[in-house]
């Protein structure tokens, strides 16, 4: 059984060095919970996109990681929050190719495709929280683990 220690964390997102710590924590937590290699890679990539948005668009914030369970399945929940300007038009922000800056505009919509559950809570003028959860898929679907 995975333990909460090593999964639960609150990490600051204030610089590109913090992005590295966020990725490493998510990688290690996902491995500990039993995610296969491809699912680990998807989660870490989604976390990297969301943490960079927290940093670049939200002006910094934090990531909270937690171990969740439902009906015997283990999941990893990640919440990225900031007290930045918020996202005025969420549908537009989620659409591929939309960026308010010089990005590719793939981060938010792409992150949503890489996880199982995705929710955004954003209040214009007071901040954004993006919560994502992925569940460990058990055999027979767990074939990608090399």
């Amino acid at each position: 059984m995975p333990t909460a220690a090593g999964v639960e964390a609150r990490l600051p997102i204030r610089s590109d060095m913090d992005l590295v710590w966020v990725r490493q924590h998510v990688r290690q937590a996902a491995a500990q919970l039993g995610f296969g290699l491809v699912d680990q890679t998807k989660l870490v990539t989604a976390a990297s996109e969301l943490a960079r948005n927290t940093l670049v668009h939200g002006g910094g914030g934090l990531m909270e990681a937690s171990h969740v369970t439902t009906g015997g399945a283990d999941g990893l929940r990640l919440a990225f929050s900031d007290s930045g300007p918020g996202i005025p038009d969420l549908d537009r922000a989620l659409s591929d190719g939309y960026t308010s800056g010089g990005g590719l505009g793939m981060g938010l919509g792409g992150a949503r495709r890489l996880v199982h559950d995705f929710e955004v809570e954003s209040v214009p003028g007071s901040g954004t929280t993006v919560r994502v959860t992925s569940w460990v898929t058990r055999p027979p679907r767990q074939r990608e683990d090399v």
């Binding site: 998807k42 990297s48 960079r52």
Partner: protein, 139 residues
């Protein structure tokens, strides 16, 4: 996984010169600033030394997000303007699967499975197709 943590890389990425080709090996988890620095260093090195090809080995890279993907694509486009071709070599299967799901297919980026295959690709002549795009062809 048996692998230990990839140590973050600050500062510069080593660039090795093999004849007319630059070999860049990315390893571990890069700071954004390191990736930007590399992009700049490469262009300067190419302009100064008349390099005709660049191989970026990413077999040691565990994730490519939209930021690093963009840096790779921009680097390739830049080297192209400086008359050098760039090949990204050794992408891990998990990274490729994730990139496609992310929506980042990086069209125009030349890839090879290994560094050796990338070197072979660069040794082949360039042919200009009728559409104006460039592609490699076996001799």
């Amino acid at each position: 996984m048996s692998e230990g943590f990839a140590r973050p890389v600050a500062g510069h990425v080593p660039v090795l010169r093999l004849g007319d080709v630059l070999l860049v090996t990315l390893q571990g988890d890069l700071y954004d600033s390191t990736a930007h620095q590399l992009q700049q260093d490469l262009s300067e090195t190419i302009a100064r030394n008349g390099v005709t090809g660049v191989v970026i080995d990413i077999s040691g890279v565990e994730i490519v997000d939209s930021f690093l993907g963009r840096v790779l694509a921009e680097t390739a486009a830049q080297t192209e303007l400086l008359a050098a071709r760039t090949v990204v070599a050794g992408m891990r299967p998990a990274v490729a699967i994730t990139l496609v799901e992310l929506g980042l297919t990086l069209p125009g980026l030349r890839t090879a499975l290994t560094t050796e295959a990338a070197m072979e690709l660069l040794a082949q002549p360039i042919v200009t197709s009728r559409s104006g795009g460039m592609r490699e062809e076996s001799p």
